[in-house]
Every structure is written in structure tokens, then in C-alpha cells.
């Protein structure tokens, strides 16, 4: 290995090392210095942002380094009359350096993030996470979100369940432990301000949890297309998986409210939120069986049928060739 190659290799290595150190230092500082992401509103969102910024600094550093080297070489080694290219087939030492360095960074990244991933995607609320547990069932269908609460008895699939379409209400600093399902196609439950996403897959009951730490009424104003600041009092719920021709309109609102407001809401009382037209609107849970009475029979039957499967065992179809004959049952 010639000395010139060694100094060049050292130069190539010094910058990523510096960047890695710098990124680790900045990671702990502030949430989103470049304003890349929407406002963070859950405890885990801040942790995701830290990881994102570690990757941002690493990739921007590598990007600048590689593009600068590329431009430097293009300038320095442009064809000049009388100058012949050097004849070399490679250099093992240098190649080992640029194999091992990215490998080390990638393995570090992979290991570094495992904890956060397994915490956020845990189907049960992980140990050590304190706070009031709020169970919710989330049901997706084309092109609406339904949110069901267990009612006074704390059990789902009972007569006192309460349900509302389009608005999810949870108390601040609580742990919302939800079960996500779909009644038709795949949807995806995306909370951009919580950096959280989980597909609603037909046939699966997916458990998820999230922990809001900021009242939605305290949401920072967001800019609209003309740059005007708009004050909103909810966090967005987005359907992020293509689900049909009105996929784009499949939105819902997450209201993070005080404990007192939530207690009233969970009992079936109305709470007041902005209607975005300068006034207020009341949101209130409906009785579970009210949907059937409103003429949405098939939808409520299908949902209840899924309840039967999860609560009361597999479906029983008397016409099915393997169905137990009358009298043999139980």
C-alpha cells in the first residue's frame, strides 16, 4: 500500500467517523431541527425522530462525501493531452476499509433500532409503560373508520358497547391499547404525528398501542396551500394503504383530551370540538346496536359476525357439509 493511498484512505475514513460522532451528539438535542416531519405528539414519536435524525446526519454526510469525491475526481482526472491513466486493478487494503466501515455502521444501525421497533410494535403494552389503559376497537371499511369502546362493563362484544365513526377520542398521557381490523380490503391506520402505522388486514386482529402526550387542542397551527396558518384541534388519522377509488377521502380525527373530558365521552355524553368553521360541533358515542336500526344491517352483521369468531369460536354454518348435525352440537 503506497503512502499516498494510505493518506487518501485516512481522509476517506476521517469524515464518516466525525459525522457519526456528531450525529450521536446531536441526536439527543432537539426534536426536529430541520422541520422535516409533522409535529410529534406521542412519546414514541420523539424517539423515532431521534433515530431519523441519526440516519439523516449519516446519510447526508455520506451523500456529501461521495458526491464531493465524485466531482473532485471528475475535475482532477479529466482527460488531458499527454496524461495517461494509471493502470491498476484494485487494492485489497482499501477495499477492505470501505467494506468494513459501512458494514460496521449498518450493523450498528440495525442493532441500535431493534429495541424501539419491538417496543412500538409490541402487541401488548410493554412492561414499564405506565398510564391509564384505554381499550379501543378500530374497524376499517371502505372508506370510513369506526371506533368502538367497551362501555361500562369493560368487555367488547356486549350490548353496552359504544361506537362512533370518524372521531377517536383518547385521554392525554394514557396508553391506548387498540385492536385493528378491516371488514373489506386492506387499509392502513396511519398517525403521522405519532410516527405510527399499522395495516388493517382483513382476517387479522392486530393489537397495537400508542401513547399521546399532547392535547390535540394544543396542536401547533399548520400552513395551508397559501401559507396561511390554520388552527386545528385534532391529530390526523390517515388511511395509508390504497383501498379503492375514494381512498383519498378515508380520513378520521384523533382528539386527545383531558381525563375528565374523556370520562364524560366514554359514558356516552357529548363533548365539544371545533367544527373548523369558527363554531363548535358535538361528538358523541352511539349505542352499539343503533347501527342496525339505522339500516346499515349488513355492515353491523358482518362486524358482529367477526365478534362471534373471536369471542364465541368459529362460525357455524348449518349448510356447510362438515357442519355438525342438529342435536350433535355441544
Amino acid at each position: 500500500m503506497s503512502p499516498s493511498i494510505r493518506t487518501r484512505a485516512a481522509r476517506l475514513l476521517a469524515l464518516p467517523a466525525l459525522l457519526a460522532a456528531a450525529s450521536l451528539l446531536t441526536a439527543g438535542c432537539s426534536g426536529d431541527p430541520l422541520h422535516l416531519m409533522p409535529e410529534a405528539a406521542s412519546h414514541e414519536a420523539h424517539q423515532v425522530d431521534e433515530l431519523t435524525y441519526l440516519i439523516v446526519w449519516l446519510t447526508i454526510g455520506t451523500f456529501v462525501l461521495v458526491q464531493a469525491v465524485l466531482l473532485w475526481f471528475l475535475w482532477a482526472y479529466r482527460a488531458k493531452p499527454g496524461v495517461r491513466a494509471s493502470h491498476t486493478h484494485g487494492n485489497h487494503a482499501v477495499e477492505m476499509v470501505w467494506t468494513i466501515t459501512p458494514a460496521a455502521i449498518l450493523v450498528f444501525l440495525a442493532v441500535y433500532q431493534m429495541g424501539l421497533w419491538s417496543k412500538m410494535k409490541s402487541t401488548e403494552v410493554p412492561q414499564g409503560i405506565e398510564g391509564r389503559k384505554v381499550p379501543v376497537q378500530i374497524m376499517a371499511r371502505q372508506f370510513e373508520w369506526y371506533f368502538r369502546y367497551p362501555g361500562a362493563d369493560g368487555q367488547f362484544a356486549t350490548a353496552d358497547d359504544l361506537v362512533r365513526q370518524g372521531d377517536l377520542v383518547v385521554p392525554v398521557n394514557a396508553v391506548c391499547h387498540a385492536e385493528l381490523r378491516s371488514l373489506d380490503v386492506i387499509h392502513s391506520f396511519y398517525l403521522p404525528h405519532f410516527r405510527f402505522k399499522q395495516d388493517a388486514v382483513p382476517g387479522l386482529q392486530t393489537k397495537l398501542w400508542f401513547r399521546p402526550v399532547k392535547l390535540s387542542a394544543d396542536r401547533e397551527p399548520v400552513k395551508d396551500r397559501l401559507g396561511r396558518l390554520v388552527k386545528l384541534d385534532y391529530w390526523d388519522i390517515v388511511c395509508a394503504e390504497l383501498c379503492g377509488n375514494s381512498h383519498t377521502y378515508m380520513a378520521a380525527r384523533l382528539y386527545v383530551v383531558s381525563d375528565a373530558d374523556f370520562d364524560r365521552y366514554a359514558k356516552g355524553e357529548a363533548i365539544q370540538v371545533d367544527d373548523q368553521k369558527g363554531g363548535k360541533r358535538a361528538i358523541q358515542l352511539a349505542k352499539w346496536d343503533a347501527g342496525a336500526k339505522r339500516g346499515e344491517g349488513a355492515f353491523w352483521t358482518a362486524w358482529s359476525h367477526q365478534d362471534d369468531q373471536t369471542v364465541k369460536g368459529p362460525p357455524k354454518n348449518p349448510k356447510h357439509p362438515f357442519a355438525a348435525k342438529a342435536g350433535e352440537e355441544e
Partner: protein, 618 residues
């Protein structure tokens, strides 16, 4: 000494050089085949390569037009499409307003056309066919008939996908479930979806036939002296790509068959129990008795092909770019063997990373962690390749020809596409950016900034061999600068809006989401970039067809390259490629600026070393 005379002076291997399929040597020079046999049902690998190239170039504009429908709606939502595109859309679908159905069809067909009809046929079909026999010193492919069949198998796919867009039900019946076509959405979609599945099946059949042919040709028909490690990286890349194609494509074909059975014959491979079916049509039929299938199963089958397919779409371009960089740096490729090993590494790892498309799909999070690790690791061989390309430029003598410019753009853009991949590989970060425009930015930096830039480099580079004429390089530079600028204008901002939480595949996200409404100005800029990018490609199309007839005549070896297509095969190349005897390969493909070469800075692969000289190490 000119290169072809070197070929003719080399040892006569005529007695034992003939492959199993071709024993007629120069016989075809005596009777010119008729128009049909020459241009339509040709068995000549060069003509089949040109057929693939021309058709995929034309489809590029269909795919681009569909993309502009999408971009227009995102930049100016709800306003009629202006100009000739608006008139065309109105003539075809009766409206120039982009509603949900037209929008979903447009992005679905954009991706399907670009992947199945443009990138794969152009990289693998066109350049694979044209280059392999010429670069390894063979007279043709191992199975010329199968080769012709692989091209003509694309036509049922062309017809089916075109037909699917123009069904009596209008855009409501067209394929609109995305190029991934996840059931149950695709299972309950209109009739166009069945045609789409069948079309993909035919395109897959074409790929498999091509792959079998390439593998066989490269393994059995390399010319005398052409050892595996003397093959140009283009051939290596297509060889390994073909192995991927051969192993992965049958899986997506099976998935499409199963999906079609679910759609047409009442099976339920992918339909679980208890769905509310037909809701989109307002029927509300409750189908509790069907089902038992798995939605996630389709995703596993689909991505088991489609992730390797991403590498099928980038590895050949990496090969072309390696060759072009070496030629125009006048230097051997830095680390030839590590390049081969990293292509193999990408291919091997490419089979165990498919789950990273399904991190949010309800897969066990522990399994997600495994896929995260393998995905992180696949960045490594790509990084090695990038560093090797950079080192190839180091102390070179760089000639900024048009193919070189596109190859350099490939390296630069591929770095961005590779680095943005780390955000997705990282599972917690992916939770936020999955299904957002960040993903769209990433895939376009790899497939346009990578694959297509590589394909442009290859087109400008091999055009003189294909047609005996040069393309116009003034127009070439114009094409290059406008493409690079408008490409970045279009796709760079997608990273920003993606991190900002703008999800993809939405026809009018501004309506319901105020935080996305603020991104409308950025989307307008992207749309303007896309329009410029689209029109820039017309320059290329014009240049391509004009140069076929009016371009400057090309000399035998205009780039002073070492590889056999320039040094041994005459231009225009006759049927059978080489003269009475096959060229003998004496060394590796990248001996540029070698001290052995004397005054020249290139040393043809088929030039015999001087008497008494030691055998070349490479």
C-alpha cells in the same frame, strides 16, 4: 494494426468453435432473409434485441403519459388536464378531469407499464440479447427460436394490458389496485384486473424464456479463451440477473393464477372469512360462508418475486455502467472480482429481504427484525460497488462523452437512491415513511436515476454497434442536462413531502388533510419538473430514430474499447456475428492504459500477446 484484422489473424478455432445451436457459420451471408424473417420473426439475437429496445422505448412514452396524468392531478387538483395530453385523455376516456377511478388506473398502469414493459425488457431483453453473444464471442444465443418466442410473448401482455384500460365499464373497470394488486381489493375489482393478471403472466413467461436462454448461452457458448472471469461486467450482471429471473418469476406467475382463480372461479386463496364484499359498489353482500384464505400470503408471494425484480431492474444497469466507466476513464475497473462478488451478494441477499415491504402488514414484528437485518446488509454490496466506481475514476483520463455522462449520473443518483433505502430498512423510521412519497422518491431514484440513466448510457454507447451510426451528441448532451435537472426537480422534493407525511396513491390528499394542503406548492414544482422531464425524453426519441438513418457513420471501434463486440465483430454485424473463425480471448475486458499496449491506451481482449510474452494474469 486495426482491431478486426487482429481478430482475423488470431488462431483458427473454426473447427471446434461452433455452439450446439449454430453450425451454419457464415452461411447466412449468402442469402439475405426476406423482410418477415429479417425484421419480424427474426431469430438473430441482434434483431430481437433491437425489437425489444424499440418497443420498450415506445412504451416509455405510454408510461410517462400516465405519470403525467397523476402529476397533473397532484399539482392542479380538480382542474382539467391541459394541452395535447388533456385532449388525448378526453378522447380515450371521455373526460379530462382526473377522478378517483382514472387516477388509480393511471398510477397502477404507469408502474405496470414502466416495470413490465419498459425497464425489464429494455435492460434485460434489449441489451441482454444484443450484448451477450457479441461480448462473449458467440455466434448467437443457445436457443434462437426460444429467443424470438420470448419477444413475441410480450405481445399478448401488451394487448391484454392495453385492453384492460378500455373496457366498456370505463376507468371503473380498469386495473386500479396498484401494480402490487393486493387482494382483497384486486379480488373485488372490475374485469380489467383479470386481464392485468394474465398480462403479467405473459410478461413473466417472456422473462423466464429469456433467462433460460441467457444462462445457457453464457455457461455453454463462451468463445475460445473467454473464461468466466474474463467476461465484461455487463455479461456478469445479466447472467446473475437471469438466475434471479428464473428462480423468482414463477412465483409471481403462480400468485397471479391464484388471484385469477379467486376472482373468476370462486376459490379463496387470498380471501379471508367474514368480509363485507361489494361494499364499494353499494351492494353490501355479506359473504360469511366463503373465505379461509390469507391476505398476507399474496403479499409474500408477490414480494418474493418483486423484490428480486427490483434487482433484476438495477443489476444490468450496474453492468453497463461499469463497462462505460472503464472505457471512458481509460482505466481497468477497480476491483473486478469484488464487483462480481458484490453483484452475486446483492442477488443472494435479494432473496431474503422481501419482507421489508411488509413491515406494517401485520407480519410478526420479530420476523420484521430479521428482514430489517438482511435489508441493512444488502446496502453493503451496493456501497462496495459505488466505491469501486469512484476508484475507477481515480487517476483516470476521463472523457465526458454522452454515454459517460449518463453513467456518471447513474452513480450519483444511485447513491441517493441507496442512501434513502436506509430510512426504509430502519423499521421504526419505516413506520412513518411507509406508503408515503418518500418511498416514491426512493424507487424513482433507483429506477429512473439508476436503471433508466444506465439504459440511456447503454443506448448511446452501443448504438454505433447496433445501427452502424452515431447518435447526435449535441442532442445527447441536451437530453442529459435537461433529464438530470428535471429529474431531480421532480423527485428530490418527494423525499421532503414524504417525511412530511404525504401518503401516496391518493387522488386529492389536500381535501381532507390540512397539513398536506401546505405541500401543494411543492407538488406544483414536482409536476412542472415531471412535464419537463417527459418532454425531454422526446428529444431522445427523435434523436434515436433520426440517427438510425441520418446519423454519422460509425467506425469499427469508435470508443477505443477492448471488448469483442468492438474489436472482433464487424460493423454492421452480420448474422453469425464474427468472420469465419471465432475471436480468441487472451485477457480480461478492462486492460486500458496497460503498459503492455505500447502507445495505445487500449488492448483488445482478442489481441494475441507478442511471441514469448508471459501469459496475462487477467
Amino acid at each position: 494494426m486495426s482491431a478486426p484484422s487482429a481478430a482475423l489473424q488470431s488462431h483458427d478455432h473454426g473447427a471446434h468453435d461452433h455452439g450446439t445451436a449454430h453450425d451454419h457459420g457464415t452461411a447466412h451471408e449468402h442469402h439475405e432473409p426476406g423482410f418477415f424473417r429479417k425484421y419480424i420473426w427474426s431469430h438473430d439475437h441482434k434483431m430481437i434485441g433491437k425489437q425489444f429496445l424499440v418497443t420498450s422505448l415506445l412504451w416509455l412514452f405510454v408510461g410517462g403519459g400516465l405519470a403525467l396524468i397523476v402529476r397533473w392531478q397532484l399539482g392542479w387538483p380538480g382542474e382539467p388536464i391541459p394541452g395535447p395530453l388533456g385532449a388525448l385523455v378526453k378522447a380515450l376516456w371521455g373526460t379530462d378531469l382526473v377522478d378517483g377511478n382514472l387516477y388509480n388506473m393511471a398510477f397502477t398502469m404507469h408502474a405496470s407499464v414502466m416495470i413490465f414493459f419498459v425497464i425489464i425488457p429494455m435492460l434485460v431483453g434489449a441489451f441482454g440479447n444484443f450484448c451477450i453473444p457479441l461480448l462473449i464471442g458467440a455466434r448467437d444465443m443457445a436457443f434462437p427460436f426460444l429467443n424470438a418466442l420470448s419477444y413475441w410473448f410480450m405481445w399478448p401482455a401488451f394487448i391484454l394490458l392495453t385492453w384492460s384500460m378500455f373496457l366498456p365499464g370505463g376507468t371503473g373497470d380498469a386495473p386500479a389496485a396498484g401494480w402490487t394488486s393486493y387482494p382483497p381489493l384486486s379480488a373485488i375489482a372490475g374485469d380489467g384486473q383479470s386481464l392485468w393478471s394474465l398480462g403479467v403472466f405473459f410478461a413473466g413467461g417472456s422473462s423466464i424464456m429469456g433467462a433460460i436462454n441467457y444462462i445457457t448461452t453464457i455457461v455453454t457458448m463462451r468463445g475460445p479463451g473467454m473464461k468466466f472471469f474474463r467476461m465484461p461486467l455487463t455479461v456478469w450482471a445479466i447472467f446473475i440477473t437471469s438466475v434471479l429471473t428464473f428462480l423468482a418469476t414463477p412465483v409471481v406467475g403462480s400468485a397471479q393464477i391464484l388471484l385469477t382463480m379467486d376472482r373468476l372461479f370462486g376459490s379463496s386463496f387470498f380471501i379471508p372469512t367474514g368480509l363485507l364484499e361489494g361494499n364499494a359498489l353499494g351492494v353490501g353482500k355479506h359473504t360469511a360462508h366463503g373465505g379461509g384464505g390469507s391476505v398476507v400470503l399474496y403479499q409474500h408471494l408477490f414480494w418474493f418475486y418483486s423484490h428480486p425484480a427490483v434487482y433484476i431492474m438495477i443489476l444490468p444497469a450496474m453492468g453497463f455502467v461499469s463497462d462505460v466507466l472503464a472505457v471512458f476513464s481509460r482505466k481497468p475497473i477497480f476491483g473486478y472480482r469484488p464487483m462480481v462478488y458484490s453483484i452475486s451478494g446483492i442477488a443472494g441477499l435479494g432473496f431474503i429481504v422481501w419482507g421489508h415491504h411488509m413491515f406494517q402488514a401485520g407480519m410478526n414484528p420479530a420476523l420484521g427484525m430479521t428482514f430489517m437485518l438482511s435489508t441493512m446488509m444488502i446496502a453493503l454490496p451496493s456501497a462496495i460497488k459505488t466505491f469501486n466506481w469512484l476508484a475507477t475514476l481515480w487517476r483516470g483520463s476521463i472523457r465526458f462523452t454522452v454515454p459517460m455522462c449518463f453513467a456518471l449520473a447513474f452513480v450519483s443518483m444511485f447513491v441517493i437512491g441507496g442512501l434513502s433505502g436506509i430510512y426504509m430498512a430502519s423499521t421504526p423510521t419505516d413506520m412513518h415513511i411507509h406508503d408515503t412519497y418518500f418511498i416514491v422518491a426512493h424507487i424513482h431514484y433507483v429506477l429512473f436515476g439508476g436503471s433508466l440513466m444506465g439504459a440511456f448510457a447503454a443506448t448511446y454507447y452501443w448504438f454505433p454497434k447496433m445501427f452502424g451510426r452515431h447518435m447526435n451528441y449535441g442532442l445527447g448532451y441536451l437530453h442529459f442536462f435537461l433529464s438530470l435537472a428535471s429529474f431531480n426537480l421532480t423527485f428530490w422534493l418527494m423525499h421532503v413531502v414524504g417525511l412530511g407525511g404525504m401518503h401516496r396513491r391518493t387522488q386529492n390528499p389536500y381535501d381532507k388533510y390540512v397539513y398536506i394542503d401546505g405541500m401543494l406548492p411543492a407538488n406544483r414544482i414536482m409536476t412542472i419538473g415531471a412535464i419537463v422531464l417527459g418532454f425531454t425524453q422526446l428529444i431522445f426519441l427523435f434523436n434515436f430514430f433520426r440517427s438510425m438513418y441520418r446519423g454519422k457513420k460509425a467506425s469499427q471501434n469508435p470508443w477505443d474499447a477492448n471488448t469483442l463486440e468492438w474489436t472482433a465483430a464487424p460493423t454492421p454485424t452480420p448474422h453469425g456475428n464474427f468472420g469465419p473463425s471465432l475471436p480468441v480471448t487472451h485477457r480480461g475486458p478492462y486492460e486500458y492504459s496497460s503498459p503492455e499496449a505500447g502507445g495505445r491506451d487500449w488492448l483488445p481482449q482478442n489481441e494475441a500477446p507478442p511471441e514469448g510474452a508471459p501469459a496475462a494474469a487477467h
